[in-house]
Subunit: 437 residues, 2 copies
Amino acid sequence: MAQADTAHNAVQAGRRIVVIGGGFGGIEVARELGRAGLAVTLVDRQNHHLFQPLLYQVATSALSAPDVAEPIRRILRPYESVQVLLGDVTGIDLASRTIALDHGASLGFDILVLASGASHGYFGHDEWAQHAPGLKTLADARHVRARTLLAFELAERETDPAEQQRLMTMVVVGGGPTGVELAGSLAELSRYTLARDFRNIRPQSARVMLVEAGPRVLPAFSQAASDFARDRLERLGVEVLTGTAVEDIGEGRITIAGREMPVGVVLWAAGVAASPLARMLGAETDRAGRVLVDETLAVRGLDGVFALGDAARFVDEAGNPLPGLAQVAKQQGRHLGRSLARHLSSGEALRPFHYRGRGNTAIIGRNAAVFEQGRLSLRGRLAWFAWALIHVYLLVGFEHRMLVSMQWLWRYLTYERGARLVTDDTIRPARGVRARD
Amino acid sequence: MAQADTAHNAVQAGRRIVVIGGGFGGIEVARELGRAGLAVTLVDRQNHHLFQPLLYQVATSALSAPDVAEPIRRILRPYESVQVLLGDVTGIDLASRTIALDHGASLGFDILVLASGASHGYFGHDEWAQHAPGLKTLADARHVRARTLLAFELAERETDPAEQQRLMTMVVVGGGPTGVELAGSLAELSRYTLARDFRNIRPQSARVMLVEAGPRVLPAFSQAASDFARDRLERLGVEVLTGTAVEDIGEGRITIAGREMPVGVVLWAAGVAASPLARMLGAETDRAGRVLVDETLAVRGLDGVFALGDAARFVDEAGNPLPGLAQVAKQQGRHLGRSLARHLSSGEALRPFHYRGRGNTAIIGRNAAVFEQGRLSLRGRLAWFAWALIHVYLLVGFEHRMLVSMQWLWRYLTYERGARLVTDDTIRPARGVRARD
């Protein structure tokens, strides 16, 4: 029996498996296939896996970029059958079963796993991107950090009070967890961290606004959690505007609910669109560009092509599409890796995926977080600690866990932030929507 | 007496003191003047003070940028009479006693302290800058890190063995402490850290060369220390070429001693030139562009203008110009700050500066460093620990000290590096020599 399996493995090992994307989903697929000794090539245009749930902390000077990122090669080092390639996928040809990479390179595949994630979506207003950066990559986070800190620096140099006030007006668009976390963190930055560092301005008087088109912040949470988050944000001095749509964004200005106002920084945490690679497959997608997959994560209508995480639209047993969360991608990746490994080594049919919600968290500020799982709901300090523990635990490397937890402890005690840097390479010029992250 | 001093202070407090540069020298001047309650404006084009002696560790993925940098505002926060401005000095007008900043702003002064440091110097070959980046700013360090890591990534994708070998050929130009540290650290990176992470290439077979025009590496150290450094570099696999001048550098190629060779990465650690601001003063400078100062650090021939650190040429009692070391700048800054404070508050004459050498260190790799002070000379593990202790101690913030020492301990035990990141913002296009760092 063991021999038969091995023989089968040897045959199937000839099948070329390519995984596109080294996020939560792609890493897990590659790891599970690698564990089974199957040959896999993982392609990503970044050399690192990014712990996106903590990215807003890089954007608000609390953590440094390497704290929340890990080289993909290092994560997959133990699995010798797994190869990692740095490359930008420029095309997918299903007829010849080849993906095209930058610099004219290409890669053949028998089985393709699309785990290319999502990017910002500007609801058809791509011209807003240059004025309202979003938060998907480390470069994004450093750029947001530089913009925010520069606004205070320029205000310190400014002599016109109106211009000072404009520079210190910051608008976060989108009231989901990222928007809430950014707004809360910006408020804390200005009220505590920067409070005593300037002479001409009072950073405490910075105006931080959170704009949400829907009726409440944190729409994926309960009404009680939304109310709690709003209350805590307002206590931090954040102006929360719900039921309010952004109508236009330009250089130094934003139009909200028919009124144009001068603004120093606009941050985008509203729309998400699946990576354009999803569309390259030519398969059916939803409005956000996510590929429709069946219960085994196979792309509907294509042979040997799978998709997961933010690149896929997976509808659960109750008929609801799964949300774009790290834990969804991670569970899907692990499931698909194991399911594929069994399928290739013993011919077993692919198994259906079932999502197990591990709870939803959002952090508003020091001591203030919400955590909900099913009927369990935590708010306040306990939720904050639960959130911190879970996130430190989920960080990939041991070193990171140790360092991040120490930094948090330090910051918690002092309100200091260790990464208040503006560097020449992060003050990038305005740019368009990114092709893929 | 105290009253008389206070009255004198009040008069002198009207004198506008401007310090250009927030490096080791500028920070100390501002701190001492701030301690005396005198009004000072410190201008820097970066928002952070940089711990330059550890910059090579950012360039070789060992530390993250925020580990070696601290916001200037945060350092000077306790001194309420000190104001920090982010700005690029574009001109100095001694007639109107005004400095011009970017965006059309200007700043009047009665007393000016030039602490603007140094930048790379390419010996009249500014066109080499784009092919051979140097190491003066955090952006430089992240750029060098990205170039180095990308060379391995591209080699992994490459199928032509000759091109693979080219990509994995790295030349460090300049055999001073920075060059030695870079070469040793690159060798360790390829031999240990990356060793098991690739499938198509053997990072251990990367060729690391250190090219020095003079007869030996570490020319500021004893012959024994030079020999030790060379031996340790060679044991790490570094090819050390002394008495060898670089004749040309182009895209993917370098000409050394009449022979052109293909190369993947060239790093510049050879020439240093004082900031161009020194020349703006119109005062006498040496060949490296450093302003000639007298024993009180006053610029010769100018009234109320001082210079220190890498921007100044200070000749000690024995007739030797002081080297461009952090400790020189730091001691000069402290001295000038105190001397000026006394002068302004009680009319006391400015005091002459005396340098006290605290010893010279250079690190070659794990367990291998040299430390020399006068007749004391340490080599090997003890020097490494001395170096590590001194550098951790010198780091400005307590948090940094704690985190950096933990990272070092971790790296020491594992050969891992925590900051192996290539991000889109660090892969900057080729650029010219920087105006000022």
